[in-house]
């Protein structure tokens, strides 16, 4: 039986695991990255592709800003393109209370450099003539944008390999245990990986491992419902998200450089965790198709050519488990990013590498401490 050793073993090769591997190597630590399928195949690869900061909880913005700096240097750092387009992010409101919500957020987030501008319906339609007359107000974050999830995590993973990380794809893990001062990670085929530090970046499967270390988390799995149109000449510019009062009415879209318009929304479905497949419910597709022209009427002239879903882990309080374990020395977590992890990915990797290498991080992440669940339990 083969035994591999490193300073850090990472379980889960999504964007969190891949970027952690990369930045740990940059700090000179040896890394083993284990992935059941292929790098970036689950939530990291199938999400909408938003790299927005606007709309995130205020406490998350320092991490989001740190990640943005890395996104801006994506090609330079990772040696490949992730189709990052910084055309801004536009939130749209249809009622006075939506506008109030946007104004409040813009004030609360004022010091984080998002450059948000409130716009009236009239000003919006002058600048974006394709918007529907029902749009009452909007907020533009001009420096935000989007990137291609299919490309980002695999590119970071390849960069990590070039930096010397040992990446094992198609490696199903059956157990993560602590033996003395070392973690012992066992694969289904009997291979064993050992390291004094373990980082769990297993996304929708992370809760199983944290629970095995006595740190259960309230996480559910959900499949987003995405669709994409045929390619059309580039016209839209910013990523657009309409504020909605229910999940079902939610709709957001972005136009990629190729010209296709990616449309998300319409709530979620429960994935098939046994076969690791997430399906699109045709009724949700139809909901989204009904919602999209309410924001941009001309979308009704297009056709969708493909729909997809994926498996994402959502925490009850929509905050990830990120940081050191509260119970086991050398154990770290970064999972459960609740549908908002893609933009954070590179920053999370950078922060986790800093934390593991130095024992501390300059970016505040206490609000994502896994210990909060046990404390909540104790209070209850």
């Amino acid at each position: 039986m083969s035994v591999q050793k490193a300073d850090v073993v990472i379980v889960g090769g999504g964007i969190m695991g891949a970027s952690s591997a990369f930045f740990l190597r940059k700090r000179g630590l040896s890394v083993i990255l284990l992935e059941r399928g292929l790098i970036g195949q689950q939530a990291s690869g199938v999400n909408f592709g938003n790299t927005r900061r606007m709309g995130r909880p205020i406490e998350e913005l320092p991490l989001s800003n740190r990640s943005r700096e890395i996104w801006l240097k994506f090609r330079e750092l990772f040696g490949d393109d992730a189709e990052l387009l910084l055309n801004g992010h536009l939130r749209l409101g249809f009622k006075p209370e939506h506008e109030e919500r946007m104004v409040r957020y813009a004030q609360d987030a004022q010091s984080f450099g998002l450059g948000m501008q409130m716009m009236s319906g009239k000003a919006l339609r002058e600048r974006y003539p394709y918007l529907a007359p029902e749009v009452m107000s909007g907020c533009l974050a001009p420096y935000d944008g989007h990137a291609n999830p299919r490309l980002a995590a695999p590119a970071i993973g390849r960069a990590a390999v070039r930096e010397g990380a040992q990446v094992f794809e198609n490696t199903e893990i059956v157990s993560v245990e602590k033996e003395g001062e070392e973690f012992r990670v066992t694969a289904a085929d009997g291979r064993v990986f050992r390291a004094p530090a373990a980082l769990i970046t297993a996304g929708a499967w992370g809760d199983r491992i944290s629970a095995s270390f006595g740190e259960p988390v309230p996480m559910i799995v959900k499949g987003p419902q995405m669709a994409v149109t045929e390619p059309v000449p580039y016209a839209i510019g910013p990523t657009i998200g309409g504020i909605a009062d229910t999940f079902e009415q939610t709709v957001y879209f972005r136009q990629v450089a190729r010209g296709n318009i990616v449309i998300g929304g319409g709530g979620h479905e429960l994935p098939d965790m046994v076969n690791r497949r997430a399906y699109v419910n045709p009724r949700r597709t139809l909901m989204t198709l009904g919602n999209a022209p309410r924001v941009v009427p001309a979308l009704a002239n297009l056709s969708i050519i493909r729909v997809w879903s994926g498996i994402e882990g959502y925490m009850k309080d929509s905050r990830a488990a990120m940081g050191p374990s509260g119970r086991v020395r050398g154990l770290y977590y970064a999972f459960g990013f609740s549908g908002e992890g893609f933009q954070l990915g590179p920053g999370v990797g950078d922060v986790m590498a800093e934390l593991i290498a130095t024992g501390a991080t300059s970016t505040p992440i206490a609000h994502m401490d896994i210990g909060r669940f046990a404390r909540a339990e104790a209070v209850a």
Partner: protein
């Protein structure tokens, strides 16, 4: 339980015979079909106001076509009818025991107890340098133009590829008065001789095939076997201008033309079976992934059945038998009385056709080696304009050795046809570049909608 609700997708030979058998047993199936009229591909009916006679339209298949059309007309009847027929209707997704169909920008879901998918086959295509120029058609599309609209795809046409359809469509074009510049077959003649024992399982069909080749030669059409396609010459402005090949002696030869019809036998249309979550298996003989089927078209999913060329390419008369067998399987599974004599007789006839099918696969093989030899600048995926070189770099530099991974990283098979045209060839390019067996490359996962779905669709409750 009461009568099972049966939906048949496709009104070609399999779908029509399936419906007929179910009606004979007292059921009222729903028949969903994309076309404006019944008949499917090979027995495609011309538009209402066209008046070409059967013999002219279908040649040796006239009797089969007429019989099928008359059967379907009888099912539809003058008033009411015995089936619910939904023409010009696309089945675009399947979920929770419902088939989602759209017609004229309206969509609705049809619940079913049994779903019989008779989705037919389309051309299996092998890219060649220049095949993206205007004027390159599939054999099937060339035939549709002729049968439906009495149009030729060009003034001077080269037919290139392999398989029975190559000769059939070329002959139909000659008969219709088109100028056929050449028929260029990649399969060596000796393969046909070797396959003869299997092909003799259906002597009449074999005779018809030989007559087609003789007819082409009599008409002065050069018919070459064992050729290797090199390039379709042309430019974006002019479209197709000619075809360059290497003949079986190794000499380079050119044929001037303004249109090329290509096809390398057929591939079943399997998206609906995939969306119904049927299990697939790799078929080593034809080098492609096909739905797993048990007896009489049963799939791995209870209540979902396959029949006709969408399951296995047996041709029109094989599809008629397959449609009947799938209907009998439905009836049996829903505890309706079924004549075992009929069942056994149909299975025996199908077995003979299966032998012939294998003969065709042997005589007209898929030229897998061409994918390996495709020049880097040749486009593999026409929807997304992905070249063989780009795909190879994705495999070699980015480690994408699996079909869906390669699609994710370079968009091959990601366009509006969803890999239906380039999927087979793309997988061959990946396998060769990665140095892995084709089976290991896997297959592109089916994703709804089966064909583009207008955003403007509204739901009919």
């Amino acid at each position: 339980m009461g009568q099972p609700r049966v939906i048949i997708v496709g009104a070609g030979p399999a779908g029509v015979r399936c419906a007929e058998t179910l009606v004979a047993a007292g059921l009222r199936p729903t028949v969903v079909d994309e076309n404006r009229r019944d008949g499917g591909q090979i027995y495609r009916r011309q538009p209402d106001n066209f008046t070409r006679p059967y013999a002219k339209l279908y040649g040796t298949e006239a009797a089969g076509a007429q019989a099928l059309h008359e059967s379907f007309d009888a099912l539809c009847g003058k008033s009411g009818g015995k089936i619910d027929y939904l023409p010009e209707t696309l089945a675009w997704n399947i979920a929770d025991g419902e088939l989602h169909v759209t017609h004229n920008q309206r969509t609705r879901s049809l619940p079913y107890d049994a779903l019989v998918i008779c989705s037919g086959a389309t051309d299996r295509l092998m890219p060649v340098k220049g095949w993206h120029y205007a004027g390159t058609y599939s054999l099937g599309a060339s035939q549709i133009a002729l049968k439906s609209q009495a149009c030729a795809i060009g003034r001077q046409i080269v037919f290139m590829g392999t398989g029975p359809l190559l000769y059939l469509v070329a002959s139909q074009y000659v008969k219709a008065g088109a100028r056929v510049a050449a028929v260029l077959d990649t399969s060596p003649f000796m393969r046909r001789v070797a396959a003869l024992p299997k092909l003799l399982a259906r002597p009449a069909v074999l005779r018809n095939g030989l007559a087609l080749v003789m007819g082409l030669k009599r008409a002065g059409v050069p018919v070459l076997t064992g050729i290797t396609p090199i390039e379709i010459k042309g430019s974006p402005e002019t479209g197709v201008q000619g075809v360059v090949i290497r003949d079986n002696r190794g000499n380079e030869r050119s044929f001037e033309c303004d249109a090329v019809a290509m096809g390398y036998h057929l591939r079943p249309e399997t998206q609906l079976a995939d969306l119904a979550r049927c299990a697939f298996r790799f078929d080593h003989e034809t080098r492609q992934w096909l739905p797993e089927t048990g007896e009489d078209g049963r799939t791995s999913v209870p209540g979902v059945y396959l029949a006709g060329d969408g399951m296995r390419v047996l041709g029109a008369d094989g599809a008629e038998i397959g449609g009947r067998l799938a209907a009998l399987a439905v009836l049996k599974d829903f505890k309706c009385p079924v004549s075992d004599d009929e069942l056994f007789a149909l299975r025996a006839r199908q077995a003979g056709m299966e032998r012939f099918r294998r003969g065709l696969v042997q005589a007209f093989p898929w030229p897998a080696q061409q994918a390996a030899q495709l020049p880097d600048e040749a486009i593999v995926c026409r929807c997304e304009a992905i070249t063989a070189g780009e795909l190879r770099r994705t495999v070699c530099d980015k480690g994408a050795q699996e079909a869906n991974r390669a699609k994710a990283l370079c968009r091959v098979g990601m366009g509006r046809c969803q890999g239906r045209y380039c999927g087979n060839a793309g997988a061959e390019v990946i396998a060769h570049a990665a140095g892995v067996p084709l089976e290991q490359v896997g297959r592109l996962r089916g994703q709804a909608p089966v064909k583009p779905l207008p955003i403007a669709v509204s739901e009919e409750k």
